[in-house]
């Protein structure tokens, strides 16, 4: 077994938290039951990884098989990477039958015809997700296994999730291969980025809870039930207003949990509106400004702004349109029906 493969396996095992190593090796399936039983998983990770490398030597594992362990790790911990969403377009009616073998063949073929030194791995998962791992090389060097790109694609959807640690020069080739393999004809980057892959999927596949108005009662009526164990001496004088705020909030955000985004960025190219007497800017130029909201869970924090009394309900549509427009990077220009003021006020 090659030195580089051994080193790669060792480093990949070291990334995995100690309690997860055994399950991931079992999923990997390259080491037999008896071999796994010889490893003491209670020792320090350094020693565990040495043992694993030893056993892989016995099985003569090659780099392609080692890469599968990397995919398994990234599938369990996708939130360690930043994912970008790309949307593909097709011209007319395309064949609705997605053939996995055909897809793989075309994808590999396109990449290999442009670049001899690539390592490509595919892995399919139960939820129709196809994970592709690509390690890039150059015509003169072997693929760099430590900076792979990851692509997650759900068949028959126009969306592709690409992990942004790609060496930028290889991105056009990757996009070309994806478009060709999936029978689309164009691809563009959406302004949607996050660490949470599942939340990105929820947003573009519309799996998050949107509030639709219907006549029939929804099963989730629990929200009307428990009034908080109130101190009877405290009387809500403002009950109507509180209920109005909660109702409006619910209409906008829905009942369920929000997708997890870490930030929203607004690039303002609007005119600065000041008191004309103050005459702050004598040139009528757009006031360039970048506003960035960050949070461990941006949409949940926006949802709790109005009930906490920190903002007026309804919240500015610039903030609430994020899941519906499927973007968290915005450019705001001077337009009649945009209100930059309402977005600035607390």
């Amino acid at each position: 077994m090659d030195e580089t493969v051994a080193e790669y396996i060792r480093r990949t095992v070291l990334k995995i938290p100690r309690d997860e190593i055994k399950t991931m090796l079992e999923k990997w399936g390259l080491l037999s039951e008896t071999q796994l039983q010889t490893i003491n998983f209670r020792q320090i990770k350094e020693s565990i990884s040495q043992d694993v490398v030893q056993l892989c030597e016995e099985n003569s594992v090659d780099i392609k098989q080692a890469a599968v362990l990397d995919i398994i790790y990234n599938h369990v911990y996708p939130n360690k990477r930043v994912w970008c969403v790309y949307q593909m377009k097709k011209t007319g009616e395309e064949a609705e039958f997605f053939d996995l073998t055909d897809f793989k063949k075309k994808f590999k073929g396109r990449l290999r015809s442009a670049l001899k030194n690539v390592t490509i791995n595919f892995r399919e998962y139960e939820d129709n997700a196809i994970w592709i791992r690509i390690a890039w090389g150059t015509p003169y060097t072997k693929p760099n296994q430590y900076k792979p790109s990851y692509v997650v694609y759900h068949s028959q959807t126009p969306y592709v999730f690409i992990s942004a640690s790609v060496l930028k020069s290889n991105l056009p080739l990757l996009c070309q291969a994806l478009v060709l393999a999936s029978n689309y004809h164009d691809i563009r980057e959406m302004e949607l980025r996050s660490h949470s892959l599942n939340s990105l999927k929820d947003i573009v596949f519309k799996r998050y809870s949107q509030n639709f108005q219907t006549h029939y009662p929804r099963p989730l009526q629990e929200r009307n039930v428990a009034p908080k164990s109130a101190d009877l001496r405290i009387i809500q004088e403002n009950r109507n207003e509180k209920e109005r705020i909660e109702r409006v909030n619910r209409e906008v955000f829905g009942d369920g949990p929000q997708p997890k985004l870490e930030f929203a960025q607004y690039k303002l190219e609007t005119m600065f509106k000041s008191d004309p007497q103050m005459d702050v800017l004598d040139k009528k130029e757009p006031f360039r400004c970048l506003v960035k909201f960050s949070s461990p869970h941006l949409l949940e924090s926006l949802k709790s702004l109005a009930p906490a009394g920190m903002a007026d309900a309804p919240i500015s549509p610039l903030l609430t349109c994020i899941p519906q427009k499927a973007r968290n990077y915005f450019k705001i220009r001077e337009k009649k029906h945009f209100f930059p003021e309402s977005f600035v006020s607390p």
Binding site: S155, T157, F212, T214, H215, Y216
Partner: protein, 288 residues
Amino acid sequence: MEEGKRNSAHGVFAHLERLEAEAREIAVKEEKMKQEEEKQARLKARVRELSLQRDMLLAKVRLQKKRLREKRAMSDPAKSSARAVLEWKIKNIKGMLQISYLTGISGKQTKQGVCFCISTAYESTYLDSYYVHLLVKPEVQIYQHSVPTFIPLEEIAKKYLQTDIGRFLSVLSDHLNAYAGRKYQADQLQEHFSDQIEGTVQRNSLCNLLVFNYKVSSKSKTFPFNVRLLYGDLCCSLPTEVNVSCTPDAPASLAEMAAAHSDLFRRVALHKAFRSFSSAEESVDGAP
């Protein structure tokens, strides 16, 4: 100054002065506390006053409301019975609107337009509901929806939305119901017949291409069959193309069985077909 006093022979005076100072401090503290208590008592009294006032006002408001209601009810007994009839009618219609979703397509008027709910079902099992919120001005367009991305919503909208909303909804409902039906069959297959399936079932998002291997037992030996189900019509929950194949070295009787299975898959729901296999096998094994 104090040192001098301490050193002098008049230690008693110093002691007395100290006591006096202490007494003064204590008196000041007591005074302060008394003031605080008085302030508290005053505020409590004020609170009581205000809550009494508020209770009185609330009682007044309640009384007035009651009087108004009585007046309204007493004013015309005929009116009140007409009112009761109206209320009953409204309740009836509301109930109808509530259960209209059982028809599969229901809608509600909203501020911006109309929100349609398409409920899917397959052979007496209700499955998921999908929503499409349409704007009506300036032209009919889709505002918001919860239709999965692999359903060709844009194509259907392009064809029918502007001309015939009813047709748009019915075509969309066909697509969604067929998808829900195919998905239900595939899920049932994997849930209830996993012992007959070898390996994984290869599916895709629309559930219109299924490829898997399953075991067939004949004369107490098991043979692997490979089946490829292609659902060419997206509005249909039965496959248009079925390929059942067995290994080349299998006995000839199996080829017949493969053809029979192929025909069965084309006509009958997937999980029902498998159920008939297991019951057929039981009857075969049971036969002497």
